[in-house]
Amino acid sequence: MVGGFLGLGGGIVLVPFLTTIFKMPMHQAVALSLAAIMANSIVSSNNYMKKGMVDFKLVTPLCIFASVGAILGSNVSVYIPGDYLKIVFAFAMTYTAFTIIRKKRNEREREVGDAEPGLTSVAVIALFAGVFSALLGVGGGIIIIPAVYLLLNYDIGVARGSSAFTIGITATAGSIVYLLNGTLQLDSVGPVIIGLTAGGWVGSWLGARAKSLVVRYVFAAAMLYLAVRMFLQGIE
């Protein structure tokens, strides 16, 4: 539900839940979460699409460059100390959360018919989102949404709707690998995917109708939660 409301996959809640309550190994929880994200993306993006909150000109380059960035990130992760990066990123996320709250209401947002944001700028943002999501082990949405909202000046609703569509596509490659190497626990997929999708439907239905200000506060709260979690992981 949280994932659907915010245009994220739901892994931010599901993975800690599976690892702490069900004592599931991390890689199995991530595999299950990726499979559920594919379904959640379909239901969430449909709810956002009905309200005209998905921009396919944003989705297409995001899918390409976020995937490329994730490959780059998983290759560089060996050379970068993840713990320090998590601490640095926890501060960056805290700063971004407050920037989202503080963004002026009357600041002009991108409208339909405005000039396209430009492939280069979308590509750079998506690449960074992909690299950092792989380095930090978080979904791309938590980086894509604030970047698209703050840097490309899209409405936060369109940023969430487009992210909801994108994450389902980018999760596919990982799911293929987890399915082939047997990490994905197929006897658990039924209840997990049905539960996450039902929650995603309710969350995205609410999210597509919620006021921008409410969404901004909830999103900032989710970012702060993740920042604290990352900071604690970093200092452990």
Binding site: M49, K51, D55, I71, V112, D155, L179, G190, I194
Partner: protein
């Protein structure tokens, strides 16, 4: 708030995929209680359906651009499919 064009084709397609996947998953849960092996295979089928859904959704997006004579983004959407396949291969190798 900016409102982008709603493509009924993509909406319908996604709805059909979702109903199909949910039906298979519901069967997997119900039958899985009596026969774990069949439940396992139904779960496998549901995940395969979800994986196949990604390129199908992207093809629908490319048709959306084709309808609007946007050749550049139409081609880009085909690259997305290529990237999914390449990413899966690269991740499997790594």
């Amino acid at each position: 708030m900016a409102k982008f064009e709603v493509d009924q084709g993509i909406l319908k397609l996604q709805r059909i995929i979702l109903i199909l996947v949910m039906m298979v998953l519901a069967l997997a849960v119900i039958i899985g209680m009596y026969d774990a092996k069949i439940g396992y295979y139904l779960g496998y089928t549901a995940v395969i359906l979800l994986i196949i859904a990604a390129p199908i959704r992207i093809i629908a997006v490319s048709k959306y651009f084709k309808k609007r004579n946007d050749r550049r983004y139409e081609l880009l959407s085909y690259i997305v499919i290529l990237i999914i396949i390449l990413t899966a291969i690269i991740r499997a190798i790594i």
